[in-house]
């Protein structure tokens, strides 16, 4: 019983980690709480749904198409909304407000055209079977989620640590002016970061949409509560912290639902968020700078 719940918790947690990964990447490099991130999640799921429905695409096509389209949307959104503020070196609250307004406009526009009814992937889109493993059931969708999360995280780490683009991104995260003086094309690097995080958000949207099989324009907004909790518990901008905090949150939620009540589960993320702010605002590993006024 407990081991089954731990497995379910790990699966749920890896979806949270995957979702929060792109969100924390944006903050870590661009120093922006970009709330349009929730929209990348929704649009990724919707594009995947559309190609699956209209063209009968399989998950192996729908997932990358959904994720990459979200990446493109992210580049455009960042360019329209944040270029001007970045140039003016406006404060972090100005960019937060702009993305907040934009994301409401985007969700609502999507709702006007698509409606707010819950939509589902076509029947038989993914295999619903589950395998038993020493008394523990795990479905193929769950394995797909965990597997994809592993692959995406590995690719992201390799990209950041081993490639020239990764070096550029890390330099930008360190100090924008210094990076520019070293000859780094800042505009291009910003676009690359937006694309990466949008792709991660879109992939999370497809996988989570698949897991709960419920797709709706505001799904990204409802996911944001977990996103906020994970990036703050992990430490703002800390990728490793976000991964661990995501998995931890998933496990704690499943255990709370199992041993306390399923209502209490919904409050877990917010409770840990507030506790973290009270007792350890720098996050799990204390690498984020919690600027004190």
């Amino acid at each position: 019983m407990l081991s089954q719940q731990l497995v379910n918790g790990l699966v749920l947690g890896s979806t949270y980690a995957l979702f929060a990964l792109g969100f924390t990447l944006i903050f870590g490099v661009l120093r922006v709480i970009n709330l349009t991130y929730g929209f990348y999640f929704s649009i990724g799921a919707f594009v995947a749904l559309t190609v699956a429905r209209e063209f009968g695409a399989t998950i192996w096509v729908a997932l990358p198409v959904g994720a990459l389209s979200a990446g493109v949307v992210a580049v455009v959104a960042d360019w329209i909304l944040l270029t001007r503020l970045r140039r003016a070196k406006a404060g972090e609250l100005a960019s937060l407000m702009v993305t907040l307004g934009a994301v409401l406009a985007l969700y609502s526009l999507m709702a006007v055209f698509i409606g707010t009814d819950i939509q589902r992937f076509p029947f038989g889109f993914v295999d619903n079977t589950a395998i038993e493993f020493g008394g523990i059931r795990i479905s193929l969708v769950q394995m797909l989620i965990v597997g994809t999360t592993f692959v995406l995280v590995a690719v992201l780490f390799l990209l950041l640590q081993r490639t020239k683009l990764g070096l550029m991104i890390r330099a930008l995260a360190e100090n924008e002016d210094a990076a520019r003086l070293m000859g780094i094309n800042v505009g291009l690097t910003v676009a690359a970061v937006s694309f990466l995080s949008g792709t991660l958000g879109g992939a999370a949207g497809v996988l989570i949409g698949l897991n709960f099989n419920a797709i709706q324009p505001f799904m990204g907004e409802h996911m944001m509560l977990r996103g906020f909790a994970v990036i703050i518990i992990g430490g703002l901008g800390d990728i490793r912290g976000a991964l661990i905090a995501g998995v931890l949150l998933g496990v704690l939620e499943v255990l709370t639902a199992g041993y306390i009540s399923s209502n209490a589960k919904e409050a877990v993320a917010f409770t840990i968020l507030v506790l973290t702010l009270w007792f350890r605002p720098v996050g799990l590993f204390g690498r984020a700078q919690a600027k004190r006024a």
Binding site: A94, L96, M97, V98, L100, A102, A105, F270, V274, L277
Partner: protein, 285 residues
């Protein structure tokens, strides 16, 4: 107005537009609650959540305990103030994004809790049959007093300190402004105003539901303040008036109401950092 006396016409007008006139007053209060936090250079996105706490507290006290309205109203302001202390305590010591993030998260978690705690909040159906005790004169009296209060504070020494914080917090701190006290004070007052607005809404619509105080409402309240600007306390109230009555006048816009509210924030931050009413308060000598 043929055949109608002025009083009859007024009665008729009030009857037709009653909901809108209530909403205008309540949204004015909400815009002021946003103004109050922004005036010290902070950003709280929990105004809708605080409003919801006030609305549910007020409705439950009236429905379950049958308390008189003059007691329900202050209690509905007190409940969100306590929540503001819990969230403001740690976040106001940190950089501004922490308050913004935890207050949006508050709205999200409350929405789900209202839906799940069916035995208390009526779940997704909400609470109905709340007696209509929020008279029009009461709403507008409170709005008037709030504007007057902010006006007086804005012209005083406290107002100067708040403006200094908005322009440059570090400098204001060095000049001897007690930053934590001002920030916490502003957040608590704003939560109380939002709680009042929530209680008034509950007792004028006679119905409240879990989705009325969520993300859309939070962003809408911010758009009131940003459209008007925060130079004077009357500016955000005008912003609220415009954005509340606009969809009523231009019916075809109704579907796009939230799209417009969102875009107003984008345009205001990018191009009109001081709002459309850029005047500032004259100071008392």
């Amino acid at each position: 107005m043929d055949g109608m006396t002025m009083a009859e016409w007024l009665d008729d007008f009030l009857f037709t537009y009653e909901t809108l006139i209530h909403a205008l007053g309540v949204n004015g209060l909400l815009a002021l609650s946003m103004y109050c936090v922004m005036a010290v250079g902070q950003l709280s996105l929990g105004q809708a959540a605080f409003m919801g706490i006030g609305a549910y507290t007020g409705a439950l006290l009236t429905l379950n305990l049958g308390l008189p309205f003059w007691l329900v109203l202050p209690l509905s302001a007190l409940a969100p103030a306590v929540v503001a202390l819990v969230i403001g305590g740690p976040t106001l010591r940190l950089s501004g994004v922490y308050l913004a993030i935890s207050t949006i998260a508050l709205g999200e978690v409350l929405r789900v809790l209202y839906i799940n705690a069916e035995w208390l909040t009526g779940g997704a159906l909400g609470l109905s049959g709340i007696p209509r005790k929020a008279d029009l004169w009461l709403i507008y009296l409170l709005l008037f007093l709030a504007v007057l209060g902010f006006w007086a504070v804005g012209r005083s020494k406290i107002g100067r300190a708040m403006e200094a914080m908005r322009e440059d917090e570090a400098v204001a701190g060095v000049m001897g402004v007690n930053l934590p006290v001002y920030k916490m004070g502003a957040l608590v007052v704003s939560a109380m105003l939002a709680g009042l607005a929530g209680c008034l809404t509950a007792h004028s619509n006679s119905f409240i539901g879990p989705n009325e105080f969520g993300f859309e409402m939070a962003v809408t309240i911010l758009s009131f303040a940003l459209l008007g600007g925060i130079g004077t306390p009357i500016a955000p109230v005008i912003g609220a008036l415009v954005l509340t009555s606009l969809p009523e006048i231009l019916r075809p816009l109704q579907d796009f109401r939230l799209v417009i509210n969102g875009l107003i924030i984008v345009v205001a931050v990018l191009f009109l950092p001081r709002g459309v009413i850029p005047f500032r308060l004259r100071r008392a000598p």
